[in-house]
């Protein structure tokens, strides 16, 4: 058993309203685990519970086989990186990075050396004497990451650390961070509402909805084979229907007139809302009564046109039964 973190039946209530319900999962040492879910599903609360900023109402959290439920945040070898960088505004970059080391009573020389090494890795050594207000958003997040990593925590929690950055910066920083986490051999738990980010950052992925995990698995598996319609809507890349899930590459849109036979095909009525280009292929944003989807088409469609989304019946994957799914998770 080289399980670093085990959470068993964790629940959390705010004045009797459940925020987290019966969450169980484990993480191996060195693993990168991501949790994806819509905002308000309880992801942030889960991280705050793991960091010790909130008490859990029921259940057990073990880090390295020891219960940490009753430890204060400062006593847990768990560091949380918040949505905003939360650099201490009155301290310089290097003072920020050494903050945690100082609390662990490192010698001054050691902590400066260590902090400088880490700043070098996030490519900000030249700014070590700057104050936070002099940094850009991306630089702040990198300092924040350095401040967390320099402590070599057993577990690093990341709460949508890129959500305040613009799209281009977010994508470049994502790769950089994952590389650094792997290089430093840090076990990380990453939460996001962005499915691309979730898939890219995680070795394993959990889908969260209404305070509970609805699916856990390898990113590819989860994306192409969602276990329920909720999961399909949150993470699945394709058409999420009541009776099953159709991966995106099997779905095409055709004008209304070309209705195929009902026996071999599944189809849904929709309407083209916009025309766009993705991966150099013209794509159509089609809305239907369950949501909207970006699909390719055999022929040119126009905005405002009524269309049919269709796929072969054999390409549709049925959702797994709940109990079957949970057997796979445990």
């Amino acid at each position: 058993m080289n399980q670093l973190l085990q959470c068993k039946n964790m629940s959390k209530y705010y004045s009797k309203i459940p925020i987290l319900q019966n969450i169980s999962f484990h993480m191996r040492s060195g693993e990168h685990f991501t949790i994806v879910g819509p905002s308000g599903c309880g992801k942030t609360t889960l991280l705050r519970c793991l960091a010790g900023l909130e008490a859990i109402s029921e259940g057990e959290i073990c880090l390295k086989q020891k219960s940490i439920v009753n430890l204060k945040p400062e006593e847990r070898s768990v560091v949380l990186m918040f949505q905003d960088s939360l650099l201490f505004p009155h301290l310089t970059v290097i003072e920020n990075v050494t903050y945690g080391l100082k609390r662990r009573k490192w010698k001054k020389k050691e902590r400066v050396r260590k902090a400088e090494q880490m700043l070098e890795k996030v490519k900000l050594l030249q700014l070590k004497n700057a104050f936070p207000h002099e940094l850009s958003g991306g630089q702040k997040q990198r300092v924040s990451l350095a401040r967390a990593l320099v402590l070599k925590p057993d577990l690093l929690l990341l709460d949508e650390p890129f959500s305040s950055l613009d799209a281009a910066l977010r994508e470049s920083l994502r790769g950089e961070v994952k590389e650094l986490l792997t290089e430093e051999n840090i076990t990380s738990l990453f939460i996001t509402h962005d499915r691309d980010e979730a898939i890219e950052m995680g070795d394993r992925l959990a889908v969260m909805n209404n305070g509970t995990f609805i699916q856990i698995g390898e990113p590819y598996e989860v994306v192409t084979n969602p276990s329920s319609i909720e999961s399909a809507k949150i993470i699945g890349e394709g058409l999420a229907l009541e009776e099953g899930f159709i991966p995106l590459h099997k779905v095409t849109a055709v004008p209304m007139e070309q209705k195929p036979s009902e026996k071999d095909y599944v189809f849904v009525q929709g309407k083209v809302k916009a025309v766009t280009v993705k991966n150099n292929i013209p794509c159509y944003r089609v809305t239907f009564d369950q949501g909207s989807i970006l699909v390719a088409a055999d022929r040119k469609l126009e905005a405002g046109q009524n269309v049919l989304l269709f796929a072969k019946r054999e390409d549709m994957k049925k959702y797994k039964k709940q109990d079957e799914q949970w057997r796979r998770v445990q």
Binding site: T44, R48, G52, L53, E54, A55, K72, P73
Partner: protein, 294 residues
Amino acid sequence: MNGQSGFLNNKKRVITHLLPALAVTMLLVGYGLWSAIAQSFQTIEGEWTFASYVQLFNSHTFFHSLKLTFRVAILSTLLALMIGLIMTRMLYQFFKNSSSKILVWIPILIPHFVAGYLVYLFFSQSGLFSSLFYQLGLLDQRSDFPILVQEEFGIGMILTYVWKEVPFVILMLLPVYYEIDHRYGEVVRTLGGNKWDAFKTVEFPWLLPVIVETSVILVAFIASAFEIPYLLGVTRPEMLPVRAYEWFYDGDWSKRPLAFSAMILPGVLALLLAMLCIGAVQQHRLRMVKGRGR
């Protein structure tokens, strides 16, 4: 996020953090008030009686004093609020950097009675304004200068309070002005409103709770303050706090009940006034707080 953390929000923590301040306040205010009220109903021998109140209500001088006290308090408060509001409106950009904000703090630095001295220095008959008018040839002798200090209407006291409280009003209002999203004013202007409309719909609703709070504080403070009337007041009619203080220290202790009741009555009056004002804006304040949350 509601800003509460589990490990912070436990009962024990709330109690241990609040208890010292609460205990000290309740001991000083609760016990002091109870003791004051009890002593106002007792004779020096410890018998319970309404005598002191009866005596006050039958006294013309008391009502003159009461009138003077509240006239000074309310006039000073209104003037200070108006001048303070105008100054804040015009200067909040200027006061944005902290070094110019020091200017507002300077008048706050000195005690009220020193401000009283300033008013005396400038506005008394032998004061600097009197000198100035004499030099300009507007006066023939110092007694031609109107009596502004130590007279019956309390002009000197009002001047002092206004001078001292305008900076206080500015300090209370400045944070509100920085909090107001001034783009709303632009919204009003683009929707066709004029400057007055913009003030009425954008600034005023934000200011109202603080204005009411400030005026309640000021009226209550001025109505019960001793220092300025002792320096700049006259004996007839006398401001109530001075009257009470003199009764309190009157040779034998027989006038002490009078001293207590003479302070309790304006206190109760100020409190009623405060409750009325606060009650009137409470609904409004709740709405603003909720609107801010959205």
